[in-house]
Symmetry: C2
Subunit: 217 residues, 2 copies
């Protein structure tokens, strides 16, 4: 576990990775949306499918053996470009661009389209939970006690419409290696979903962090 790759990237290399690999993932997000909504005929779908498979094969000519994991950069930042909520290389992720404020508050604005639907026209309840898990986890880190999720409780006040949403979270209390965090998702009319989470830093991660100063990104 935690078999991370050490890759010393400069700021310029990282910007380029964001543009090139990030752009590739962004194009793939567009494709995901088009696949859900397309009404072209069967022959065209079959033809496009064959081309998608050929493109994937081109990308696989050279690839890492497993999942992305994390990459360390020179300043000690850990980059999870494959992360399912925030990974710039992962087309499953919206991706969330979570901002950290000086006072420990974290927030993001996000647009969720057809790929995140549950009930008709509404964000899937599980997608809300996915987003809140990441958001609250970052609030735990921003509050000074990063950790893995111990317990996450999500309360659905009303349906969350697909479209533009605002996310916000903050650590409420720290008790040793445990952070108690709250956060929410809002649409233009107010809060739709609230969550509270307990985040815990396991021993193996504490030992790992002692070896190498870390800031997750």
């Amino acid at each position: 576990m935690f078999e991370d790759r050490i890759q010393e990237m400069t700021k310029a290399e990282l910007d380029r990775e964001r543009e090139v690999a990030g752009g590739l993932a962004q194009a793939t997000r567009g494709l995901i949306d088009a696949v859900i909504r397309s009404t072209v005929d069967e022959d065209e779908m079959l033809a496009v499918r064959a081309e998608i498979e050929a493109l994937a094969a081109r990308l696989r000519v050279s690839q890492i053996p497993g999942a992305f994991g994390v990459v360390h950069t020179q300043d000690g930042t850990v980059r999870g470009h494959g992360n399912a909520a925030v990974g710039l290389r992962n087309a499953v992720a919206p991706p969330l661009d979570i901002r950290w404020e000086e006072d420990g508050r974290v927030w993001a604005d996000v647009h969720l389209g057809a790929a995140y639907e549950g009930p008709p026209g509404l964000v899937h309840g599980g997608v809300s939970a996915l987003i809140l898990d990441q958001l609250l986890g970052e609030a735990a880190a921003a509050g000074g006690a990063p950790g893995m999720t111990g317990t996450l409780t999500v309360r659905y006040r009303r349906g969350t419409p697909l479209g533009d949403l605002h996310l916000e979270s903050k650590t409420e209390k720290i008790d040793g290696y445990k952070s108690f965090v709250r956060g929410s998702i809002s649409d233009a009319k107010g809060v739709t979903v609230e969550a509270e989470g307990i985040f815990v830093l396991p021993r193996w991660a504490r030992e790992k962090m002692a070896e190498r100063p870390t800031r997750f990104e």
Copy 2:
């Protein structure tokens, strides 16, 4: 809300949709994985990106105006092919193939790859929550009282490794329009994540269902 499209599909048409549109989404899942893991050079990534954008444009020549919503078929079944957890057309979804047993138990086996990563080598805690929300929601329906998620509480016992996982859930109690449901995710060594959920059928959905008998799929 709940502006669903009525499309009377025969069994043969549905099988074909599963094969053609489902196959297109499956190819897109492969592409998502390849984009995360590829180490081909920049020029090749830029070239592939342009081709992905061209394929999306071909699919968009004819498309529905918004998210997929649900489609009703002749037997009253509601099909959410765009659903973020189980939708056969949605490449964000693994997709889960959740089986319903006679006794109300629901279960699924699923393989989660690089696209579902959180901490290195582990399933994102939010992805576990997404999967459990869908699973417990179906257990509520299988137990006789379908609903939308009211509260979901997820407890992480240990890290869930990427790979082959087993999901299981059952309704524990029904109280009017509320279902109380439990479920879990397991790897080969046992349970990694547990969840309990309260699912509630809102009034608007009860009225809708009274108009038209419904089984969600």
